[in-house]
Assembly symmetry: C2
Homo-oligomer: 406 residues x 2
């Protein structure tokens, strides 16, 4: 029997064994800005981190902990990225973890740390340490705790982002849960794109398999979102498993496959929410490349279309400017035969047989006004496909990112 | 003795043996839109073309002629790119060349064709053929003819772009000239970024050497300009040599080196003018990467900084947001040690020893208001360097590219 997913209105505490809390330390202009996800016992931990060569202290620190395969908490702040602060920045990250360890009476080596916000500014540790004890009495499970936690990691995000599922599978002894929250690659406050995603589960997985599943899910979801092609110094995706639910002996393959599918679903929902809430976005664009000779080629083409400012401004203007999409596909460097390429915008064929199709520009323009606009390009040269998500580029995007003075 | 350059207020007819003319065919909303550069005899020809997989008909056509190493004229139109029109588009390009061949009584195989403008629209050949005979009586040398020609290839460019030098070198029997014109990678009318550059010279060079010199010059100038990271279907750089001036026997190496230096100077001036006139630009940004382990790494870092929307919007806002520049350098994927990196904006040190330098943000912001802002990043990991040019990203950029309806 195939696995059945049920979506839940919850975030990271959807999985058994997790609580969350948030407080305000004054790192950003309003709202909570320090949050924790805490498990009642040490968890299996996995993580995927930014490839940017300038890695924030928290990225280096948390990657080290993930290497050990075990953690019990995720401590996250918004407002200050604590990036490009040299050795002092790393010392601040460590001090932040130690302060939380004391409050919650856990091992400091079990605390993953994530920061997002302004680069080059130091964390105000005294006020953070003053507020940290107030996290303890706020710890809770449920929608309200999830939402409070999800809001505390927002910067220029306009809405909190959560996703969770309950999954029944013959591979598992009982239904398992995956919950998560993310903050957007809408750029940060207003300094830098940072994508953070924290996923919890009660499904029990060896650390190496959890890491493999998270990498696989991130590659097809979070790594397929672009707002402006910029990669943050602070990006990270973390997974904690409380190991409450065991798989059925002898059905490991099925259990892992079902877990992977559920994890992909949660990550895809979070990724789509990030794209839809990109800075200044008025709509989300879902690019689907089909008929490519292999998957890496399909992804390069999809990414090239999603990163093109000309494509993104055309979508802002509801302009069915298919020439820009072909241009962006063509500059990806993958050999193609224009005569075999077909292109649909909002489900309407605009290009085929090497030239413009007969279409009504007003009708395509109307489809481009929808909140989600699919773009499907078939390369006609194979059987591989890829998806990528982005948003349009608006005047507001430039305002958000220019009208701030350091 | 080193070669001496003298800059001239001229364009493509600066070199002996060339004339230019332009007429209006109604391809764009106002002004001339069809132009020719004609030599009094067949020339050595070289060319560098777009790497976009969707190549316009004129790119395929002209690349074929350049392969033969000989041509006598460059026929260029603005307003319509004649790209993505399939076999009919190629037939139109051929017909355009044949019509000009008849007017000027030259071999159609000696005419290079370049088009720029809207994608997916067909050329109105009847009106073009009707106007073409009027090019003949307009043929002239001199500043006015150069300017008229340079304006005829403009689309969203706001100023015409010309550069030329006279060079005295011991390697050559007489002073030689190089003249050129270009149109911007400010996007097209308002459809697509296209960069066209047409260079003439009277220095006599074998076709293979002319091609090598043009490739070298383009790689360090035109290929170091980015407005939005998009690569047109129609980009081309063409070089014609009228072979009037011979090198001194036995001094070929010196002659070629001096020609290369002069060609680089002309191409760099045109490239800088293209960057400064990018769509919506309020300033030009010159990124200089030093201390890289090798030149390709230096160029990747420079390009990554120039293509970052976050960096470009910060410059529009005169915001000394050095964190974004480091982020863009770091995402290029070249290993780096933050502790060795130094960064200067407008000549002021903003980052060193792995952390922010002490600087006055108002002073840096004032430097960012200049028409040309240098950004110098030293990676501290070697002796290689590279330069790249771009412009800021303004609200006007989004308006230009969104407020048009196909």
């Amino acid at each position: 029997m195939a696995a059945r997913f049920e979506r839940l209105e919850r975030g990271p505490t959807a999985a058994a064994g997790f609580q969350a809390a948030a407080v305000r330390c004054g790192l950003k202009s309003s709202g909570d800005d320090l949050a924790i996800i805490l498990a009642d016992q040490p968890c299996t931990a996995a993580g995927v981190f930014t490839t940017n060569q300038f890695k924030a202290s928290c990225v280096q620190y948390s990657a080290g902990i993930v290497n050990g395969g075990r953690a019990r908490a995720i401590l996250a702040n918004s407002g200050i990225a604590n990036a490009a602060n040299g050795a002092a920045g790393m010392a601040d990250t460590q001090e932040m973890a130690c302060a939380a360890a004391e409050v919650f009476q856990i091992d400091p080596g079990d605390i993953l740390v994530a920061s997002t916000g302004v680069i080059g500014r130091r964390l105000p540790l005294p006020s953070m340490k003053e507020q940290m004890p107030h996290l303890q009495p706020n710890l809770a499970s449920g929608f309200e705790a999830d939402q409070k936690m999800a809001r505390a990691i927002m910067t220029t995000d306009t809405v909190e982002k959560m996703a969770s599922v309950r999954c029944r599978s013959d591979g598992w002894q009982a239904p398992f849960h995956i919950g998560g929250t993310a903050k957007g690659s809408g750029m940060i406050a207003p300094k830098m794109a940072t994508m953070l995603a924290f996923i919890t589960t009660d499904a029990s997985l060896p650390a190496a398999i959890a890491q493999k599943c998270l990498r696989e899910a991130a590659d097809h979801t979070f790594n397929c979102v672009t707002v402006d092609g910029d990669t943050s110094t602070n990006d990270m995706v973390l997974l904690l498993s409380s190991r409450r639910v065991q798989w059925v002996e002898g059905r490991e393959q099925e259990a892992i496959a079902d877990f992977q599918a559920a994890l992909n679903a949660v990550c895809e929902e979070l990724a789509r929410k990030i794209a839809a809430d990109g800075e200044g976005a008025t709509k989300m664009i879902e690019v689907i490349v089909r008929g490519a000779s292999d998957e890496p080629s399909a992804r390069r083409i999809a990414r090239s279309i999603c990163e093109s400012p000309l494509v993104k401004t055309a979508f802002y203007g509801n302009d069915p400017n298919w020439g820009r999409i072909l241009m962006a596909a063509g500059k990806a460097g993958i050999p193609l035969n224009p005569d075999l390429v077909t292109l649909l915008i909002g489900g309407i064929m605009v290009f085929q047989n090497g030239a413009a199709a007969l279409f009504d520009p007003d009708q395509v323009s109307a489809r481009m006004r929808q909140p989600v606009v699919p773009v499907v390009i078939d390369m006609g040269s194979g059987g591989s496909e890829a998806r990528f998500w982005t948003c349009d580029m608006s005047v507001e995007y430039v305002h958000i990112n220019a009208d701030y003075h350091t």
